[in-house]
Every structure is written in C-alpha cells, then in structure tokens.
Subunit: 372 residues, 2 copies
C-alpha cells in the first residue's frame, strides 16, 4: 500500500527560460527567475520555492536549471539538496526538463507524484494555491495528469486557455473538471466570449501527475525522448556514469513543450483533470504585464521597480525598471516602459511590449550579443 | 584718423550659460557650449571660434567664461591668447560679461568695435554670417548699436523677434534697418503674422558696437554697473590689482541681460540698427530644437547624436543623445527624446522639451545636485 498522496509528492521547478520579452532586465546570465519583479524582496525563484516548501518540505523540491545558473540558483536556495539539482547542459525545452525529473524521481521513489511549477511566475494567495495543488495531487493519485487553471479576471489575450468539461467526481479533488481542450492565445473578442462563458480557465502551465503516468504519456507520444530520459535517469545517481550519459544523450533529446507531448494528448483521451484556482497568477510575460502587476491596476500610475531607483516623474505613467543608480527623469510620457541597466536601455510603451523579443533577435543578429 | 572699421574689430564670445533645457547633456561642469550638438566633430564653442577668426584673426577674439571652465575652454581654443581670457568668478549675466569685455578692450585700444556672439548657437553659412557682421561693423562705426536679425524661415515660438523699421542708409551697411522694437517669444498665431508681414526678424542676441558707445548706453541705463565695470577694467591689466578688484567689485555687479540694459533702450531712442541675416541660425534652446536640427526637418526620422551611439530603433522617431556606450533600444515611440548619460537619463517628447528646466530645478531642490 502507498503512503498518503501528499507524502509521495515532490515539487519540480524548471528554472530555464531567459524571459526575452523582459530584456534588458532579463539576460542570458540573469534570467527572469533571478529577478525580484514584484518588490517582494525575493527573486521569483525564491518566491516559488517558499510557496512550494510547505507542501512536502524543503528536501522534496527539485530544481532543473542550466549549468550556467547553478551558482545563482544555489545562492537563492541554500536549503536545496545537491541531489535535487538537475543541471541541463543546454536547453531542450520542457518535456526533457520535466521528463528527466520524473524519470529520476520515479527511479528513486516508485509511485512518486510530481508537480511542476515554473520558477518565474507570480502568484499571490499561497494558501489558495496550495489548496489547489492538494486537490491536483489527489487527481494525480487517481491516475489523471492534473493541471491547475486560473479563473480569469479579465479577457486576457496574452495567455492560453483551458476549455473545461464536466466534474470528474474524484475523491479528495471535488473541484476537478475534465478538460475539453487547450486553446492558444485568443483575440480580444474570443477572450471576452471565453470569460463570459465561465467554462474557460487560464493555462498556467502547472502539471501534477504520478511520475510513472507522465512517463507513460511521453512513451506513447515521444518514444525516443522517453527512452533517452530513462537511460539518463538510470545513470543519473552514479557519479561515474552521469557525465558520459549526459554528454551522449542530452544533446539528442527532442525539443518539445510538455503541453504538446503530454497535456494535450492526455486531454484528448480524457485523462487530463483541471483544478480551477482562484488565486492571483501572472506569468509576467512582458513589460505591459509587469507594469500592471506593479501599479495595482491604476493606469495613470508610474510603477517603479528597483531598490535604488532615483526616478523623477512629471506627468508620466507606465513603468520604470531601474537596475542602475542613475537619476531617471520622465516628462509627459504615457504608458511608457523604461528599463535602465548598466549596459542597455529600453524605451517603449505598453502597447509595444510584445515586440521586445524581436529587438533581442535583432541585437543577436546585429552582433550585440554582449548585452543579451 | 581711425583705422578701417574691420581693423578695429574685436570678437567677444560670452561662454557662460549651462543650457539647463539640455540637461542631462548640459551640466554645470559640461555646459552646452562644450558639446558637439551638430555632429560637426567640434564643440559649439570651437565652431563659434572658427566662424569668427576669419574676421580679424585669432588674436582678436576674447572669451568671457567662468573660472570653472577655463581649462576646458583653453583645451578647445589652444590659439586663445592669455590676455583674451576673461574669467568670471560667478555668473553676473550678459551686461556684466560683455560690458567688462568692452571696458577692457576700450582701455587697451580706444575706438575698438566689439561684436558679441554666443558660444552656444548653431550657424550654417559662415560666409553669409561674416558678410552680415561686416555690415554690422559699418553700422557700429557710424555710431549705432548694431545687431543681426535672422530672416525667419517659419513661425517659431521659441525665439524673440525684432520688429524692423525703415532703411537707415548707412555707408557700407546697405541692409541696415532701424529697429522699432524687440518683442518677446510670441504665440503661434502672432508668430505667423510676424513671418507673413516680412518686417520681423529673429533676435539672435548678436550685438556689434563701438565699445565706447556700448559703455555710454550702459552708463545711462545702469550707472552703477557701468562704474563698477570701468573700475574693474582699470585694474584688469595690472596683475597686482586685478584679483583684489575682482573680489571686491564682481559680486556687486547688477545682473541684467544686455538686451534690457543696452539694446532695448537704444532701440527706443532710434540708435539701434539691425542687419538681416539669411544664414541658418538656431540657439538650440531645447531638445525639440536639437532633434529638428539633426533630422534635416524630416519628422519621421530618429536623430542620433553621439560618436559611440549604439541605437536600435523599431518604428520610432525623435532624438537619441548617447553619451554612454550603452545599447539603446526604442520600440514604437514617436517624437521621443532620450538623453542617455553615465549618471542620468531623460525620457520625454519634443512637445515637453521646454519643461526640462523645471526638472532641473526639481532635482536641485530634491538634493540631486550631483547630476546637475
């Protein structure tokens, strides 16, 4: 007989993406998850950790990150056990990252239930968050791939949505609903329809599942990737074998988001459950989102981020992110986005915040990788 | 009998104002005249010098500047003779600066004709400029206080205007006109009327006069200031006397613009002559003016100033002044003004460029004088 589901729970934090739309704040050497984007005094990674530790303790949180970020991650999370650090030699997308964690943990602890939560999202309402996770764990224990969908508070066009179905009637997961489908970022009109219908949730990219179930899904949709991950996991806890296995296998792993390799196929077969979450969530996808998050929704305000910010604003609104100690003066600029770092400056408006990624691409092509 | 008027001519360059509306480019320790604002490769001061030297040679140009700027001025003008440097212990406005130069030069060389030209204006068309000065010198020789007014090319609201009167019929100054009055910066409608009338010129603040005539005007409107200047001039060329005289007299001098102490009173008495100048002139009073000057009038362009500028613009217009070697990215911002310096950043729009001075005042009051 298994332990109670929560005792078998293990959090996994994939800490990978740079967050290119938050350049020049986010960089290859200072990705989004290493920033304090809310003025909490903590990086997003540390906030994520703090939110997860009460679920199963600080020895049951695994972080999957790039080799380059190891020192920064360990500085943020001094409690993190060595065995819980999984280093990627290069990014191979979320199926590889989460799948490897699942394979390693399943080997160490058959029957383990894992929950994967991005290192760079913002949540307020940790109690509500954990209550939703506990329900998701129950759904996972019942064999579902579970996710947590956020009850929309507005017709956001920057998020994907989950179209929910009937109640599943899972023991200890009374809110669990079936998932009809995942839908991509909608236009505004469609988003309005979604919100009005009451049957759509924001896809927050949280997945909770028995590791063996998750690997089973992967095996059916991505057999090569699955085989590679099992081989890696087998070598992982042997110091003599891990290095050669990583060098040999990691670069060959298929790059695919776990949404496509696991979640959507599971949904199509009725094996996905969603727990609606009523906590406040944001993936802080761009500076418009960051501005909103830091201005308490007051559009006329100027949000200022940065401990040592010296900002003088005359009739201006938007957001200033200060990572230098320079004096920043704004006069008569509305919805402005100013991101001031020692080697790069961005000036745009909320309306164009999504185009930041294109600038990053242009800088890379133009030989300015020194500031990326 | 006197020498020919041009042989008695001496240029005076008051190099004083910081140019607060160009902060954070212009600073107390890097005033406007020490910047290259046109991409000419020279500072405005050096351009002014180069424009004046052909008139009477490099030994007949006097510079009046602050003690703090002595080294910078001498670095810009290595040809400048020691006797031609007049240092102000503190700014006392243009009547004191130009009046002292007049008094010193009149003592050294009775009958001298001086021409005062700001160190921080932009002119293109040096030949036309000098032709106008030569006419102004003739008018000055005939006893007038002469000025050069710029034929307006548009209804500018950022300049004062000169309302011209009849032809004066001065020998060797065929364009010389009487001056009916000086008028302050107009509103747009008034400016349009001025330009249409054909009888208004921009006041470029250039004054050409016999030094004794200029001092006579000062004596009648500002007798105390005049007396102080004569006393200073008497001590000036005696190394033992200059220091004590400056310490005693300079701080007591009335602060008043030469427009009010000399030009307007002379105009009221019919003693002012104006030579219309058809060269391109700008006082580069703010960043809107600087943007225009550097974009050849194409409103959709982004003007970029700065030798080492690394600017990436996506659908943006306005001006970027780069005094750091940071990468500056602009996305979708129109008529923007971005001024990037190592310790201060300004973001505004052309429409608000005049308000920069208020920011400087606010920074001073707010204890941020370190960046002024």
């Amino acid at each position: 007989m298994h332990d109670a589901p929560l005792d078998r729970f293990y959090s996994v934090i994939p800490a990978g993406g740079i967050g290119s739309r938050l350049w020049p704040l986010s960089r290859a050497d200072a990705p989004k998850f290493l920033h304090d984007l809310t003025g909490s005094g903590h990086t997003l990674l540390r906030d994520t950790w703090n939110r997860l530790v009460p679920l199963a303790g600080d020895q049951r949180v695994m972080v999957v990150t790039g080799r380059a970020h190891r020192a920064a991650v360990e500085a943020q999370l001094p409690e993190l056990a060595d065995a819980n650090v999984v280093l990627e030699s290069e990014p191979r997308d979320s199926s590889a990252a989460i799948g490897l964690a699942a394979a390693i943990l399943e080997r160490r602890e058959p029957g383990v239930i894992i929950g994967s939560f991005a290192a760079d999202h913002v949540i307020s309402g940790s109690e509500l968050f954990r209550a939703a996770v506990v329900e998701a764990i129950a759904a996972a224990d019942a064999g579902f791939i579970a996710t947590i969908g956020i009850t929309p508070t507005e017709p956001a066009v920057g998020f994907g949505y989950i179209h929910t179905g009937d109640e599943l009637g899972v023991t200890d997961a009374p809110s669990a609903l079936a998932v009809r489908s995942f839908v991509e970022k909608p236009d505004l009109e469609t988003a309005r329809d979604y919100v009005e219908s009451g049957t759509y949730l924001w896809n927050a990219g949280m997945f909770i599942a028995r590791a063996d179930r998750l690997l089973e899904e992967l095996a059916s949709t991505q057999p090569e990737l699955h085989a590679g991950l099992l081989e890696l996991a087998e070598a992982w806890d042997d110091p003599a074998l891990r290095g050669p296995a990583v060098d040999r296998i990691w670069p060959t792993l298929t790059k695919i988001a776990i949404d496509y390799s696991v979640a959507e196929p599971a949904a199509a077969r009725g094996r996905l459950a969603v727990i609606p979450g009523r906590f406040v969530w944001d993936d802080v996808g761009d500076f418009a989102s960051l501005a909103k998050l830091n201005s308490a929704g007051r559009a006329s305000d100027l949000a200022i981020l940065g401990e040592n910010a010296r900002v003088l604003s005359d009739a201006s609104s938007g957001i200033v992110v200060s990572r230098s100690n320079r004096v920043i003066s704004l006069i008569g600029v509305q919805d402005i986005v100013v991101v001031d770092t020692p080697d790069a400056l961005l000036v745009t408006t909320s309306a164009h915040a999504q185009r930041v990624k294109a600038v990053v691409d242009a800088l890379r092509l133009g030989g300015s990788s020194d500031v990326l």
